[in-house]
Symmetry: C2
Subunit: 154 residues, 2 copies
């Protein structure tokens, strides 16, 4: 049930891109890598994967960098995780994007499958409805709360 580092890094980068580049120019890999403490060359690969999947656009050369290919309201965490980590489903026989027949006698009556289908649906519900815009907003809101708390304390 674990998210790989690749998935984690990719999500962090995308969220940072959504928070920052609200219109303003491209963001460089090294900035994100430094801020999120990700190995630059590893993040590079991740960004290319995300680009090839159509979630990012890039611009080479001086002043270049990356920006979201679509508005942050139209990119979900689910899309990102699928690109970097593959199917959300815990087992293939309940996967939408990468279904594979299991060895059980009858899929329709397999108890494990029925339970795992619940899990996959719960995960998909959350990740496919969480957009980068929402996540970034939630973060900003939490930060504002934290600041208010800090000020009251001072």
């Amino acid at each position: 049930m674990k998210l790989s580092k690749r998935g984690e890094y990719g999500l962090k980068a995308m969220i940072e891109l959504a928070s920052r580049a609200a219109g303003r120019g491209a963001v460089q890999i090294k900035d994100i890598a430094q801020h999120e403490q990700i190995p630059v060359k590893f993040l590079e690969q991740i960004m290319v994967t995300l680009k090839n999947a159509g979630l990012l656009h890039s611009k080479a050369g001086v002043g270049g960098g990356y920006h979201l290919a679509r508005p942050a309201t139209e990119i979900t965490l689910g899309q990102i995780v699928r690109v970097l980590d593959g199917p959300l489903a815990p087992i293939r026989c309940v996967s939408q994007m990468a279904y594979e027949r299991c060895v059980c006698e009858d899929e329709k009556t397999c108890g494990l499958r029925l339970a795992m289908l619940d899990v996959r649906n719960a995960i998909a519900d959350i990740l496919d409805s969480a957009t980068l815009a929402e996540v970034a907003a939630r973060q900003k809101k939490a930060e504002a709360h934290a600041h208010r708390r800090a000020r009251r304390k001072a």
Copy 2:
């Protein structure tokens, strides 16, 4: 977000144990392995792990085998998965059983963490409330439906 083979095999074995041994004696590894198409020696290791975790009892010698250490109503899929695959949480910083500080500046405001906390809670809700008894019952019910369908057809 994937369940390992070890987890999958262990869950299948436990569900089979719950379905079968409703009181009647112990079940042998080789029976389960054959029925579920699991490598015998691999299943052996898994069963020992489950035993050491207190979820199974075993009896050596002729007529020996495994049976659930507690009633099927008191063993959840969550317990089994945690023993075999570790924490349910996608990332450590939202894990109950194996929490670890993440590198982000402030955990309380980290957008990714807030989203993954939702996921971990959804998974835990499902797996910690699904007992072996329920899963086995669900399976039996689905099988009954399938049989009725088959008879109508015939």
